[in-house]
């Protein structure tokens, strides 16, 4: 032993052990900060709940309607197919090409993408089945086979041989099929040019293969992908395989070649399936007499093609309607004028810039279209062109540079859809009750010879004065859907609506109380109408107003114009009924407020305006503080008396209210001071830890008796990259729970994000189906031990180049409003909450982190915000996720006007709020601005903040100023109260009673790390001691 005491050896060992100890301690710190992520991946839990006896007879407050997880999986499968069937939109059906006759027709499915169609999103909502769980998605070929359709197998073989070289890409390090967007979580300075359509040229098709398609029906699949963190860009004009396209949403050269081949090698029948939620340019298909039918199927999720196949063979008549306007050109909408990648002239890379890269403040988006999104532009300009108003016929904004002509601009209008049968609709009555609920009565009759469902779309036109408040000529107000009607059968639907949703927001109106901004109903005639889409609706109104149809244009053969289906209701001016607590809150989002004249907004008073892209923008002195992420400061104040760590003897379960038999009947009213007493029991460190670590695994708060609460990303169901199946959040200690799924269960690793994408769901126009989808999401919550779904996405398809259309329902606010509300209600009925995202104006994906988004307040309130309003103001409890972007120059979650004035004060929202994921370095999403503005919890870990300018809330440097700012602490407690209020009513309380306690335990990996640290510490001490002894020995 003595021989080992050599100075050199001891120095070397000391260097090794001491430095490894430093590294280990650092990694320990990182691991602890990310413990929830690690626990999620390893399936470990750090908190356990213990109940000693219970005064409650049954603590399973939310029970499943299924006796096994298999039953639930089967129910989801069936519902997914049903939604996709009802969501398929028949756009063209010449010569009754559809339905197919499976007894006499053999089908050749054209397009390499048919082998692996795009089912969900690339990022955000992937629909990848779990191979380990034996799960299998249904592609178009599988679905046709299941339904007994004979198809040409030679093509599948050919595509299989070529698939790897054409269509595979990688994501998360794994090779995946069929996706091609360029995803970037970082900012990108130039438009991405890479987009791979994934088709082969005609020259690749061998003659014998083509011969095999002769005398078969051609089914051509056209596919575009969709993804979080990616957009389409105008720079995309070709792909690496030699395919070229005018725009990424136009037909590519190879697709045109395939269609030509299909025409040549078929029985003369060519059917095109649109496998895309991005609005493609399909006017040439519509006009082509050799294309017999077009069926939009969107991205139908894991089993949706089974429903699509049902429509193709006529087992079900199509009843879906478009959720977006299919314009002739993807670039013709005013929303595209300023969409794209724009950085401030004084961005962080410019010489002498006041901004730093760390500010994440370089990029901006100006939404110069104002309220005229989607059909609200095309149909409003159409009406003005008919009425000769606002220079609507001018060449500005027209596709070919000549006078603007609706027929040249739109292929299929919003809300349009065909059926295998025909229906008549009669608007019989409209009752409007300002301040109350109103309704319309519509009689629907199946006038064809096939059974089917029909959608009733109720539209309204508000009185417009030239030069006055901007108003769309037509807007969807409400909708309903019939049951299956047999030929000749009629049904009467009562469609309810709320007049607040056709009020206009007047930013300039000064109210009696001196505040500015109000919801206004102008005096005049309001025209209510029904129609197969927005164009038919506006035509009905015009026919009514003009007393004839001479000047009116129809663009599809089955469109009708019926003046009798427009009912005028005269209303008096009202500017108070819907304006309680309302005042301007988003004026700072108008770029012209900072730099007058920067942008010309689209206006129907002069349609020649708004077509010039905004010139370069230099961030002004006024814009800099918020761009530099200094929206709020901690300042000493004694505004509130703050108590932390009180011993009030309450627990979260004690806020639940039971009847005499021990059955749960509700929770303590939100305004009851008992909630404040409960929150005061929380210690400040607990509060900091909770609010700064709102990951998918909310930390337990022992002081109020609540263990880990789990939530997970959506919106098509819990996504498999984070949950990995039904067993993910269970451990053996839960095995007595009735919905427990163990690790050996066949469904343990089942992928849960199976449902069709949101546009497909919305295109059903069926509130009952969406509610049922929510109920099954709630069931997933019960069977996974998860309490919240981060979804639905409630942003709008503002610009068609936004790559995330699959996670948002529609271009229309009211369709989105209703769908989101129904989904939330269904989900909440099972004790699982939805988290509406992304609040708000998250309208572009590239550079979304810190993107300054400029718009008018009227536009936001009548479109983007109105989409959230239905669910947020509804009875179901839920969460809201703030958006990555800035509102004007202020982070959305840190924007007082958005988060407090609108969400809490005007809408009375009682649910909880959190940010989107704040990665390390995202200082603009800092806890200070977020919590102060009412933005609630931070979806991140403290570690992510620890190195940013503001640091972590728990950093020693922040403690004195935080302790001195009672107003900030009050906001912390308010945020916690909202979280707890939702938790107390949710399935998170299953298994918890007032007698439950929560204990922190060390997980196996924490013990392992601790052991390694201790071992290295001992070795370091020993080697340093040896070094000292060796030095002494040498000296002696």
């Amino acid at each position: 032993m003595n021989g080992l005491l050599k100075p050199g050896l001891m120095r070397g060992l000391s260097a090794i052990f001491s430095t490894l100890l430093i590294l280990a301690l650092s990694l320990t710190s990182v691991a602890n900060a990310n413990s929830s992520v690690i626990n999620r991946q390893l399936g470990t839990t750090a908190y356990i709940t213990k109940t000693k006896g219970s005064s409650v007879s049954d603590t399973t407050y939310f029970k499943s309607e299924f006796s096994s997880v298999e039953e639930l999986a089967n129910a989801k499968h069936a519902l997914a197919a049903e939604i996709a069937a009802e969501g398929s939109v028949l756009l063209k059906n010449a010569n009754s090409a559809l339905p197919l006759n499976k007894d006499t027709e053999t089908v050749t499915v054209w397009g390499l993408n048919s082998l692996v169609p795009t089912l969900g999103g690339l990022m955000g909502s992937p629909a990848f089945p779990s191979e380990a769980g034996g799960q299998k998605a249904t592609g178009i070929l599988d679905a046709l086979g299941m339904k007994g359709v004979q198809f040409n197998g030679a093509f599948a073989g050919f595509y299989g041989e070529n698939f790897d070289s054409v269509r595979k890409s990688s994501l998360f390090g794994a090779e995946i099929p069929g996706h091609s967007h360029t995803v970037s979580f970082d900012t990108i300075p130039e438009p991405a040019s890479s987009y791979q359509i994934g088709e082969l040229p005609a020259s690749a098709y061998p003659a014998d293969l083509l011969a095999s398609a002769d005398n078969t029906t051609a089914l051509v699949l056209l596919t575009r992908d969709s993804s979080e963190a990616a957009d389409f860009t105008t720079a995309m004009t070709s792909d690496p395989l030699g395919n070229t396209f005018e725009t990424p949403l136009s037909l590519s050269a190879y697709e045109r070649e395939i269609i030509d081949l299909a025409k040549q090698h078929s029985n003369g029948k060519v059917v095109v399936l649109i496998n895309s939620v991005a609005v493609m340019e399909i006017e040439e298909l519509k006009q082509d007499p050799d294309i017999d039918a077009i069926l939009w199927v969107g991205l139908p999720g894991m089993y949706g093609f089974e429903g699509v196949a049902d429509v193709l063979i006529g087992a079900q008549s199509p009843s879906g309607h478009l959720v977006d306007t299919y314009a002739v050109s993807s670039l013709s909408a005013p929303a595209m004028v300023n969409f794209g990648i724009h950085s401030y002239d004084n961005y962080s890379g410019a010489e002498g810039s006041p901004l730093t890269k760390g500010n994440l403040a370089d990029y901006y988006l100006i939404e110069s279209e104002g309220i005229y999104i989607g059909y609200k532009y095309y149909e409003t300009r159409y009406e003005d062109s008919v009425l000769g108003r606002g220079k609507a016929d001018a060449a500005e904004g027209s596709l070919d540079g000549s006078a603007w002509n609706y027929a040249k601009e739109v292929s299929y209008p919003f809300g349009y859809g065909m059926s295998y049968t025909s229906f008549s609709q009669e608007l019989k009555e409209v009752k409007v009750d300002i301040g109350g609920e109103s309704y319309a009565v519509v009689k629907v009759t199946n006038t064809g010879d096939v059974a089917g469902k029909d959608v009733v779309q109720l539209y309204v036109q508000s009185p417009y004065t030239e030069g006055g408040l901007e108003k769309a000529a037509i807007q969807l107000l409400s909708f309903g859907k019939t049951e299956v009607l047999k030929p000749g059968e009629s049904a009467e639907l009562t469609i309810t609506f709320e007049p607040q949703y056709f009020a206009s927001y007047d930013e300039k109106l000064v109210k009696e109380d001196g505040t500015t901004g109000a919801w206004v109903l102008d005096e005049g005639d309001y025209y209510f109408t029904v129609g197969n889409g927005a164009h038919e609706a506006v035509n009905n109104v015009l026919a009514k107003k003009l007393g004839g149809t001479d000047k009116l244009i129809t663009i599809n053969e089955n469109e009708t114009i019926n003046a009798d289906n427009a009912i005028a209701v005269t209303l008096k001016r009202d500017e108070t009924t819907y304006s309680a607590n309302v005042q301007n809150a988003l004026q700072d989002a108008d770029i012209n407020r900072y730099i007058p004249g920067t942008v010309e907004y689209t206006t129907r008073s002069d349609w020649t305006k708004g077509w010039t892209p905004a010139a370069g923008v230099t961030a002004t002195e006024e814009m800099l503080p918020t761009l530099q992420n200094h929206g709020h400061e901690l300042t000493p104040n004694s505004d509130y008396e703050i108590v932390w760590g009180a011993r009030n003897g309450l627990s979260l379960a004690s806020m639940m209210e039971f009847d005499e038999s021990g059955k749960l009947v509700g929770v303590t009213d939100f305004d009851d001071p008992k909630w404040d007493s409960l929150v005061q029991q929380i210690t400040l460190p607990e509060a900091i830890n909770f609010l700064e670590n709102c990951t998918d695994e909310f930390d337990a708060i022992g002081s109020v008796g609540i263990g880990n609460v789990y939530t997970n990303d959506g919106p098509l169901g819990f996504v498999n990259d984070q949950v990995s199946g039904y067993a993910a959040k269970w451990d053996a200690s839960n095995s007595d729970e009735p919905t427990y799924v163990g690790p050996n269960d066949p469904y343990a690793v089942w992928t849960l994000a199976e449902m069709p994408t949101e546009p497909v769901v919305a295109s059903t126009f069926n509130p009952e189906l969406v509610r049922r989808e929510g109920e099954l999401f709630g069931e997933d919550g019960l069977w996974t031990n998860i309490s919240g779904l981060l979804g639905p996405g409630v942003n709008l398809h503002t610009a068609v180049y936004c790559g995330r259309a699959h996670e948002y329902y529609s271009e229309d606010a009211m369709l989105t409003n209703r769908m989101a509300a129904e989904l939330a209600d269904g989900t909440w009925s099972k004790g699982t909450w939805c988290v509406m995202k992304h609040f708000a104006m998250n309208d572009m994906e590239y550079n979304r982190t810190g993107l300054s988004t400029f718009f008018t307040e009227q536009a936001a309130r009548e479109n983007g915000l109105r989409a959230f309003e239905g669910a947020v103001k509804g009875d179901s409890l839920l969460g809201v996720m703030s958006a990555y972007n800035r509102v004007g120059t202020t982070f959305a979650g840190g924007h007082d006007g958005l988060m407090t004035q609108i969400l809490r004060t005007e809408w009375g929202f009682r649910g909880w709020v959190e940010t989107d994921y704040a990665a390390a370095g995202f200082d603009y999403m800092n806890w200070l601005d977020n919590i102060y503005a009412g933005g609630g919890g931070c979806l991140c870990t403290s570690a992510n903040f620890s190195t940013s300018e503001h640091g972590s809330m728990g950093d020693a440097r922040n403690q004195d100023s935080l302790n001195a700012d009672t107003a900030f602490q009050h906001e912390m407690q308010e945020a916690l109260k909202h979280f707890l209020y939702v938790f107390a009513s949710s399935n998170a309380m299953n298994g918890i009673s007032p007698d439950t306690t929560v204990e922190r335990v060390a997980t196996w990996w924490e013990k392992t790390i601790m052991g390694a640290d201790v071992a290295l510490g001992i070795l370091t001490i020993l080697s340093l001691t040896g070094l000292v002894l060796a030095a002494r020995k040498e000296k002696n």
Partner: protein, 130 residues
């Protein structure tokens, strides 16, 4: 005094630490303590090595590589936390690798400096330290 191989390895380690100070400028998300640690390493190394180079006696001079290793590793260890997300995202394909590249280069050079210092620790910088 006879210089050992450790003298030259320590000098090389200090040079790499100096390079690291500049490389840290290209790292996306940073810790405030990294550069001071590296600067301390470079300054202490330069002083000790210069004195030894001039045949001056430096008390505990042979401990220099150990101190250098500790300072280098301290800097690298502290640089990890702010960049964890970025690096993980880059390897998952969710971020461009260029975001992580600066950090990975810095960490690679930093660990090289540490390794040289550790090797030098075994040898010391002079044959007979005072």
């Amino acid at each position: 005094m006879k210089k050992t191989a450790g003298f030259y390895l320590s000098a090389l380690s200090a040079v790499l630490a100096l390079v690291c100070i500049f490389l840290y400028g290209s790292v996306l998300f940073t810790s405030a303590y990294v550069r001071p640690l590296l600067i301390a390493d470079v300054v202490v190394s330069a002083l000790v090595l210069a004195l030894v180079g001039m045949n001056k006696t430096v008390p505990f001079g042979n401990v220099l590589p150990l101190v250098g290793a500790v300072l280098c590793m301290g800097a690298v260890a502290l640089s990890i936390a702010p960049m964890v997300n970025t690096v993980v995202f880059a390897f998952m394909g969710m971020n461009p690798m260029s975001n992580a590249q600066g950090f990975l280069t810095f960490a690679g050079v930093g660990l090289s400096a540490w390794l040289l210092a550790v090797i030098a620790s075994f040898a010391g910088i002079v044959k007979k330290a005072a």
